[in-house]
């Protein structure tokens, strides 16, 4: 019902608010003094409230990095927890300034929802998890014919699942919930034989189950899930800020700039590093974005580089770096030149 109400309110907002894309999001963010960021309601490692009730995680740090780039303060963020079905209306209606909620970049979302994806902060793929205590002898997704599978509605996961079982001539019984918590509860209660979502999500979810050791993530990856932050289409200035914040985090890792060595790096003789950090005499590295020249410094100081963020949030829950390593290490993380 909450979603329905939000949907209706969102639609009403779309119907009445005449500003939308015409006003500059960057100016609006500046004048209110914080970034309103849509995040997951609670996915350990990506976005979940910590013991103090503050959101933290890999996706949350993208929001914080954007805030740091604009205000020099990573805490200038207000979070809107959204579930899979609420997230798009929240962004469309202007309730949030950006959506950083492990959202898959697809053609239809890019074109028909009125969004632009600012980049990819995590390359993921869809997988399956089963309770091995109940299902001995199953070690491949191809053995799941006839299984009941828990899945969250409004996700690309739901579509990939249908495609995968069809392509392999297998039957299944979808058990579909709108909320993350309801889906987890149903899986844990044994309503389904398997749970499917992005592999990173499975790894994170597994840790929150009562007996994590009973649950096994199957090896198959059945889809490409490039996850990244999205903004409303038609505001290139704001789009650029979010896109280059991502780039800067990756570039900082590539250039070896970390939270610890930031001061040294700012005094470095290396012209590339001086340029990125806005330490040249006539630096204009922030001008094109409408930001301060030390915006990359602010991002690294407040949040850290991409690798540090990964190590802080995802490495502890057992997510391997895999595809998300730097291109120099055989991964896909590649920043366009900051010049």
């Amino acid at each position: 019902m909450k979603t329905v109400i939000k949907g209706i309110l969102g639609s009403a907002a779309l119907a009445v608010v005449a500003t939308g894309a015409s006003a500059s999001t960057l100016e609006e963010v500046r004048s209110k003094g914080y970034v309103q960021c849509g995040v997951h309601t609670g996915l350990i490692g990506f976005a979940a409230p910590n013991d103090d009730g503050e959101f933290e995680g890999f996706d949350v740090d993208v929001c914080r990095a954007v805030a740091a780039a604009i205000f020099g303060d990573g805490d200038a963020v207000q979070y809107t927890p959204t579930n899979a079905t609420e997230r798009f209306t929240a962004l469309q209606s202007g309730e949030i300034d950006m959506l950083s909620r492990n959202t898959t970049w697809t053609l239809s979302r890019d074109t028909s929802l009125g969004f632009n994806f600012a980049g990819v902060n995590y390359y993921d793929g869809q997988g399956f998890m089963i309770n091995s205590a109940n299902l001995e002898g199953i070690n491949s997704a191809l053995q799941l014919s006839g299984a009941a599978i828990c899945v969250q509605t409004g996700t690309t996961t739901e579509l990939n699942l249908a495609d995968y079982f069809r392509a392999n001539n297998m039957e299944y019984n979808p058990v579909v919930f709108q909320g993350f918590d309801e889906t987890n509860a149903a899986y844990e209660a044994g309503r389904c034989d398997a749970y499917t979502t992005d592999q990173s999500g499975l790894i994170a979810l597994r840790l929150t189950l009562a007996n994590p050791d009973d649950h096994v993530v199957l090896p198959e990856i059945i889809s490409k899930e490039p996850l990244g932050p999205a903004v409303r289409q038609g505001d290139d200035e704001w789009f650029n800020v979010v896109r280059w914040t991502l780039m800067a985090m990756v570039q900082a890792e590539e250039s070896g700039i970390t939270q610890d060595n930031l001061e040294e790096m700012m005094a470095s003789d290396n012209p590339e590093i001086r340029r990125i950090l806005g330490q040249e005499a006539d630096s204009s590295i922030g001008a094109g974005l409408g930001l301060d020249n030390e915006w990359v410094v602010n991002i690294v100081r407040e949040v850290g580089n991409y690798g540090e963020v990964f190590d802080r949030h995802l490495a502890p829950i057992g997510v391997p770096r895999g595809l998300n390593a730097l291109w120099t290490d055989g991964g896909l993380m590649y920043a366009m030149p900051l010049r």
């Binding site: 949907g7 469309q92 028909s112 409004g154 034989d193």
Partner: protein
């Protein structure tokens, strides 16, 4: 106007004067002007809202319109009354949802009515225990939010049942586990068309017998055991046909497969809990309406009936209930509407009703405004149809009385 004022001869001629003074002060013309103004303002408002919405959607690069309904859905639905696969369209997916909503609403309404009448009458019982049990039932279910009742059935009852491998064996080859309720599925063999035919014939014959018996009783006062005859016909004839056709009916019994029981008919726990919750919840309101209706019939009617020698059961059936129905039907209608609308709470337990599927469609296409509009139109249509039917029934009942 003129005749109107002239009729009130001894009143001071104020109205007459005012009517002559200026047309602006004529209440009739004023009324028309106000109504035209309101209508114009309303139309302008709707026009502005629609125009503004589509303009904003266009400016925000969000596609709009109902063209998406023809696109390939791409997702599967667990329960469907019509043919549906991931290759079907979004429009068909919404149809699946509509039928699932109708299914739970219709079965729920029948069960709630039956249960509600039973409990409403039970509350008036002279048996202390029955009356108290019914009171407790009504007070518990009437005072809980329906969502909690749904969660009670889903999380509290059905999801704590054992898994498929330790299913509870129930009589008649039925099974219960946390994946739902399983029962044998009838498989109709050759010549089995005789059975439903016999069933229809039996019903027709019963109706005929009932009419005949009624006429005879009216004419001669002699009674005929209609109920027993009808029961014998309705059970006996199909049974006879079954043996005549060479016992063509077999049953597909659910057996344990790799993951779950396979074969037979499976009733998912999502449907079961929604159905049970809506029925139990609404039955408590219907019970109160029935009780009020019965108490609303003058006590003298019952006493008169007793003094004519009618027994309590017959008094209730022939004297009290027909009169009580007139009081019961209008509030009953709104309970039926509530049950239908409350079925949208299905989203919380993942029953594939109109709202749940609509949400999926909304997310796969991003067309929130259109889907919300479809929801509203369909629920409005369902409610209006229910109201129309109940108004017709109400009118019929009222006429029979007079």
């Amino acid at each position: 106007m003129a005749t109107d004022t002239s009729l009130r001869g001894n009143e001071p001629p104020r109205a007459k004067k005012a009517a002559r003074a200026s047309w602006i002060n004529d209440p009739w013309i004023r009324g028309i002007i106000y109504q035209v103004l309101v209508a114009v303002a309303l139309i302008a408002f709707v026009y502005w809202i629609v125009g503004n919405t589509s303009e904003n959607l266009r400016r925000a690069n969000i596609s709009s319109g109902f063209g998406f309904l023809g696109g390939r859905a791409g997702f599967d639905v667990s329960q469907s009354l019509i043919d549906y696969s991931a290759d079907s369209t979004f429009g068909r997916a919404l149809m699946v949802g509509l039928f699932n909503t109708l299914l739970v609403a219709v079965i729920g309404i029948v069960t709630a009515t039956f249960l509600g009448f039973l409990i409403g009458v039970g509350r008036l019982s002279r048996n202390w225990l029955i009356a108290k049990i019914c009171t407790v039932y009504v007070e518990i279910f009437r005072n809980l939010p329906p969502l909690l009742v749904i969660f009670f059935w889903y999380l509290g009852v059905l999801s704590v049942l054992p898994g498929p491998r330790d299913s509870l064996d129930l009589p008649f080859e039925t099974f219960l586990n946390n994946r739902g309720f399983f029962m044998p599925k009838p498989v109709w063999g050759e010549g089995s068309w005789l059975i439903p035919l016999a069933f229809v014939v039996a019903i027709a014959l019963s109706w005929f017998v009932a009419r005949k018996a009624y006429r005879r009783q009216m004419a001669t006062g002699q009674r005929f055991p209609v109920l027993r005859t009808a029961l014998a016909l309705i059970v006996g004839l199909p049974l006879l046909a079954y043996f005549l056709a060479g016992r063509p009916l077999t049953f597909d019994v659910p057996v344990l497969g790799a993951f779950n029981l396979q074969g037979g008919v499976q009733v998912a726990p999502e449907f079961l809990s929604l159905y049970l919750a809506l029925s139990f919840y609404t039955a408590s309101f219907i019970a109160e309406i029935v009780r009020a209706g019965i108490l609303g019939v003058n006590k003298g009617q019952t006493e008169a009936s007793y003094s004519l020698g009618l027994q309590p059961g017959l008094t209730l059936r022939l004297v009290v209930v027909p009169q009580a129905l007139r009081i019961i039907i209008p509030p009953l209608t709104s309970q039926y509407l509530n049950l239908t609308k409350n079925s949208s709470l299905a989203v919380f337990i993942g029953y594939a009703d109109l709202v749940q599927i609509g949400q999926t469609v909304m997310n796969q296409t991003g067309q929130a405004i259109e889907v919300v509009a479809i929801w509203m139109i369909i629920y409005l249509g369902l409610s209006l149809a229910t109201s129309a039917f109940m108004n017709w029934y109400n009118a019929r009942m009222a006429l029979v009385e007079r």
